[in-house]
């Protein structure tokens, strides 16, 4: 496979420092590419360690001002009910002005099935609590044409689209994530059509970092395949901005992904765990 580019020289993406807040590290879903979760059984966990507490947010070690973007996400073995997290989101919004991505469609779907509450209601409440975006996770495998066995409990296309529709109805912006394997992205016409139809606020390109996951043998996606994937997305979906979620060494990524057409490079600068 040879990767190809068409470059816009001198174009720079905005390096955007991201603060990550994890609700819980316990998760039963076992996604093969996950670098966050501690596997746990799928059952109610009365003894599970509590999730992120409101008190933890007050700690002095959190550099709220340094983060230009916040993400709240975590594993699916969450002990606290949905309403608790609304409360936490409100607290986060009091502490920081940065746009907050709170809960991906995967988590919304989980609360939907767990608490038997309509997706629309959950999404509306997230918006009410102050979330600026819905997280991008959930669609990466089928959008990128990767084996669904990598994450058998992730969302199907129709589940993901249900959440996306609800977000649109609630006027809550949402993104779609695209997982880039080290061999490069091959977008199917189907995926392009879905993305053209749902019009996410942006595309979250996630180069696979497989160290320490079940997919270790595949290796990591480097800047070259990532840039060529960004390029591909820009060509097919010129009106949707592309953000690159770059978890490794950020040096030069603004220039590299910028010339490939990305608008932002999201670089994690801190993470708060429960």
């Amino acid at each position: 496979m040879a990767v190809s580019f068409s470059l816009e020289p001198e174009q720079r993406a905005l390096l955007t420092p991201v603060g990550r807040l994890s609700t819980s590290r316990m998760c039963w879903a076992g996604c093969a590419f996950c670098r966050l979760a501690i596997s746990s059984p799928r059952m109610s966990l009365p003894d599970a360690p509590p999730g992120l507490s409101v008190d933890r947010l007050q700690a002095d070690d959190i550099a709220w001002d340094a983060a230009a973007f916040l993400k709240l996400r975590g594993g699916l073995s969450i002990k606290e009910p949905f309403d608790y997290w609304l409360h936490l989101i409100r607290r986060i919004k009091e502490l920081s002005q940065a746009p907050l991505m709170a809960f991906s469609p995967v988590e919304v779907w989980y609360f939907h099935t767990q608490e038997r509450r309509p997706v629309r209601e959950l999404v509306r409440l997230l918006k009410w609590a102050g979330a600026d975006f819905l997280g991008s996770g959930g669609a990466e495998l089928w959008l990128s044409g990767l084996p669904l066995e990598w994450a058998p409990y992730r969302l199907t296309q129709s589940e993901w689209l249900t959440v996306a529709d609800a977000a649109r109805a609630a006027d809550l912006r949402f993104a779609a994530s695209i997982l880039v394997p080290p061999t490069g992205l091959s977008l199917s016409p189907d995926s392009i059509k879905v993305l053209q139809d749902v019009k996410p606020h942006h595309l979250d390109v996630k180069p696979l970092v497989s160290d320490g996951t079940h997919l270790g043998a595949l290796g990591n996606a480097n800047v070259v395949v990532t840039a060529s994937s960004v390029n591909q997305l820009r060509q097919h979906l010129p009106e949707v901005p592309v953000y690159v979620d770059w978890a490794e060494e950020p040096e030069d990524t603004d220039a590299i992904f910028g010339s490939a057409g990305a608008e932002r490079v999201l670089v994690p600068i801190w993470e708060v765990l429960p």
Partner: protein, 220 residues
């Protein structure tokens, strides 16, 4: 056939004590079956080498404005310069000095830490168009992101200073670019083609452990 991506295993013993350097060089070369490149202060018994002191008939590794006496005229020169940031850049003086001393056969570029990638790229391309047709980019100062990017954007760039444990990155890149990866030195012996990475494709590699989810209940 597209230009091969070259791995030049290099050992710089110019700062190593003379009693130890040759032994180190020997060990280094023997780990690549006698292939590999040595940079030393003065000539040694190595098939592929450059020396910091210019010697008559040798390959001179030029890092600065050292005067070269007429009688030790090298037959080829490698200039190691930092990427010039403008016409008044001292790196260009070093380059001119090298060009005036003898034929320039190789150019190794070091990236100044505050030079952004687009500027570095423009400057390097100017050198490619005017001075020499291949530039070796120093991995340490460029960083992996910039290095892979530049090599992908122009086949006239080659990587310099790649340690054996990082060759897999070149292998990955060569595969992405559809170019062969070879081990090269300047001994005059032919390039050694290096095998590609063992290739796991996402389509075939359903991790076995996933057949028995949930993960916590996996049998050993």
């Amino acid at each position: 056939m597209s230009t091969p991506l070259c791995w030049l295993p290099t050992l710089d013993i110019s700062n190593v004590d003379v009693s130890f350097g040759p032994w180190l060089a020997h060990r280094f070369l023997s780990s690549f079956r006698g292939r590999g490149h040595i940079i030393s202060q003065s000539p040694g018994p190595w098939p592929s080498q450059e020396t910091i002191q210019a010697t008559s008939g040798g390959q001179w590794y030029c890092r600065g404005l050292t005067k070269v006496p007429k009688r030790s005229k090298p037959i080829g020169i490698t200039a190691e310069i930092s990427v010039p940031t403008g016409l008044a850049d001292p790196a260009l003086d070093v380059l001119n000095h090298a060009l005036q001393t003898g034929p320039l056969v190789r150019l190794v570029a070091i990236r100044p830490h505050d030079l952004n990638l687009h500027q570095a790229e423009t400057s390097l391309r100017t050198l490619l168009d005017t001075v020499i047709d291949t530039i070796w980019l120093d991995q340490q100062s460029f960083g992996w992101n910039a290095l892979t990017w530049l090599i992908a954007s122009d086949p006239r760039f080659q990587p310099a200073g790649i340690s054996p444990q990082d060759v897999w990155r070149l292998s990955q890149l060569a595969e992405q670019l559809g170019r062969p990866l070879v081990l090269r030195d300047f001994s005059g012996k032919p390039d050694v083609p290096l095998p590609g990475l063992h290739h796991f494709s996402p389509e075939q590699s359903v991790p076995r452990a996933l057949n028995s989810l949930p993960a916590w209940g996996r049998s050993p």
